[in-house]
């Protein structure tokens, strides 16, 4: 239970925020936390807490697999640093680039293929897979 104590503040915050499907399990020296945050702001706050409790997240003892609530049809903002986000034919960088979404562009979620790749559609009708890390669900 030591890790749950260490990250108690984070778990408390997740509860307060109303993270859905929150699951917490300690396994082989790693605390696994998963769930769906209501918003990008909640998600960012949880990660900031992680970094605060475990400076630089250096211990590697927390696996925080939290995603952000985004239903099919949700609006997603492209959160690359500056560059365009590649849209690919398959959910992998092996996939051919079938389109690009600009930095800060809003695209539509078609399918949450897995935790790393989402299928999206741009306003120009380009459809394909993009890396979920660079897609931030927008409040409705």
């Amino acid at each position: 239970m030591a890790l749950q104590d260490k990250y108690a503040e984070l778990l408390q915050a997740a509860n307060t925020m109303g993270v859905t499907n929150l699951a917490v399990a300690e396994k082989e020296g790693t605390l696994h936390v998963s769930g769906t945050a209501k918003s990008t702001a909640d998600y960012d706050a949880l990660w900031a807490l992680y970094d605060k409790i475990d400076p630089n997240m250096a211990s590697g003892d927390l696996m925080m697999n939290i995603d952000i609530k985004a239903d099919v049809g949700a609006q997603l903002k492209v959160t690359t640093d500056k560059t365009n986000l590649n849209i690919r034919s398959t959910p992998s960088t092996e996939g051919a680039i079938v389109g690009k979404a600009a930095h800060d562009e809003i695209v539509t979620l078609v399918e949450k293929t897995d935790d790393s790749w989402w299928k999206i559609k741009t306003k120009d009708g380009e459809e394909g897979y993009a890396y979920a890390q660079y897609l931030s669900p927008q409040p409705n």
Partner: protein, 167 residues
Amino acid sequence: MKLNKVIMAVLILATLGFMSCKPNDADIKTKVEAALKADPMMASTTVDVKEGVVTIGGECKDDACKAHCEKTAAEVKGVKSVVNNCTVAPPPPPPAAPPASLTTVLDDATQQKVKDGLKDIKGVTVAFVEDKAVLTGDVTKADRMKIMQILASAKVKSDVSNLMDKK
């Protein structure tokens, strides 16, 4: 009688012809050496010839090379037989197995997910060791968080002890 004479003449001519065409040992040696040296694989062989019997020595890299040396020498005109004294170099030691610390239990798809995500983060390299992604490089605070988020999405544990803060 005429026929006998013809036969005799043919025999004599044949014998003379054979005698005159028979290369001497020195010639054979030169030819065998030239044939062997033509192939760099067999360049370090030695050749000795005595009455048409060629003795080859030196070191060959493998059995195939040794057999090839013998065949090459035997094909030289005038060679009666070949004594093959070539030695075969011991095979190089097998490549050492990768140390256990460099093996990973993470499958290719998982590794690919991590690599896909890290592609856009400059100056960071990743290695997969056991069940962890080991990251090396200099990163900003924002990048560090992004890296951790990428690893969490791929459900991969992290080792960030070699990840330094960008000054």
